[in-house]
Symmetry: C2
Subunit: 233 residues, 2 copies
């Protein structure tokens, strides 16, 4: 049995994953959106994921609670490590260095959960909004990682043993932030509903200073699209 | 930086993972034992994992809460599916068929968490007590799956990018249940502290009838080792 219309889409509530969800819908998939509560510094991004899933017509949306904070080691889950900030208009660091906001094995864990849900739904398609252009520093955003996960997944499940072939789709992999925004706007994504900031406040207002904010702002500028982001202060 | 003495050991509280932990200790590793609370039908196996970790000299033991039950699809996590039982002395089914106690993507998820902890600890070694002899029906217990996970993991992390090589050890892979028991006994494993039953009662007494119980009983018989298991009734 296969459910060829169903796809799992990893959804953070940020700009990239919202665009990824819209692309999955455009390709005709019924979208089962999957978000994670993993000791993030704030939960406004989970609220954003709910808004995005609803606005873009997801068939279902699940939020799985996971225990990444238990292991520590990242500024995104460990409250004792500061998120680095810079002046709002400082140039974005596109170097290869791995940022302190890297969460150990995050995409491996997220994709593993997506694989579990895909098997239960009899789906053979998983979408993830990783991007190697802006975030080249994250090892688990690279195409070679995605391909290796797909190979592993095709040995991991009952569906695979029975002959199904799972596909991991990473449609944003080679797109710039500006290109992602252009595609999303053409598909009707309301980026005002998304949150990319590493340290948004309780109202979802973005700091404007972290790497994620500056990449996003730069993307809207380059795309010539008005930035709908709510900034703090 | 590397911590060559540290290894993560996946620990269920059952016979196999206890033996795997003992083998990691024998190889000189400081053991960081990792267990999961994932909507199992009972929590006595988590208590068993605590006893085993302590008795075998683990350096640390963490229990991560994960949300497998949210997806359903397995008799081990979904209370609406019965665990199959047979008469206590019925022959064990060693066929290739995938049992209903299969949990979608379970070992993929478990190994992903182990990978996260390994990176935080700067460890390059993960032990998992999978076995392809008795449980050939589980796709994620096969050597080809373990090898593919190792390949993926070596592309997934900051440590990998920095040149470290992660090893997934599956020392029980080709051992029979009787061989596992013989090795464990030689290393001082107290199997009375372990629980293998899919439906042990609140005192940890085993049903004696599920596949796991029957494999275990058969293993003690073949090894010529007195079976220390507490059975119900």
């Amino acid at each position: 049995m296969s459910n060829h219309r169903a796809a799992i889409v990893l959804l953070s509530g940020g700009l990239d994953s919202a665009t990824c969800l819209a692309l999955a819908r455009q390709q005709g998939f019924d979208v089962y959106a999957l978000s994670f509560s993993y000791g993030q510094r704030h939960s406004v991004e989970l609220e954003a994921s709910r808004r995005v899933a609803h606005a873009l017509g997801a068939t279902a949306h699940r939020i799985a609670n996971i225990d990444l904070a238990a292991f520590g080691g990242s500024a995104l889950t460990d409250l004792s490590i500061d998120v680095p900030v810079a002046a709002p208009n400082a140039p974005v660091d596109h170097s290869e260095e791995i940022p302190i906001t890297y969460v150990p094995a995050r995409n491996t864990i997220f994709l593993s959960y997506a694989l579990a849900w895909a098997e239960v739904l009899e789906s053979d398609d998983i979408f993830i909004g990783v991007n190697a252009v802006d975030y080249s520093g994250y090892p688990d955003c690279r195409l070679e990682f995605i391909n290796a996960f797909e190979t592993m997944a095709n040995l991991a499940t009952r569906r695979a043993v029975e002959g199904a072939k799972l596909h991991i789709h990473a449609p944003l992999m080679k797109m710039s932030k500006a290109q992602i925004i252009e595609v999303g706007v053409s598909l009707g994504v309301d980026y005002g509903a998304t949150i990319s900031c590493y340290q948004a406040d309780d109202q979802g207002a973005a700091c404007g200073a972290c790497d994620s904010c500056r990449l996003r702002r730069e993307g809207f500028l380059q795309a010539g699209v008005p930035d709908p982001t709510l900034y703090q202060g």
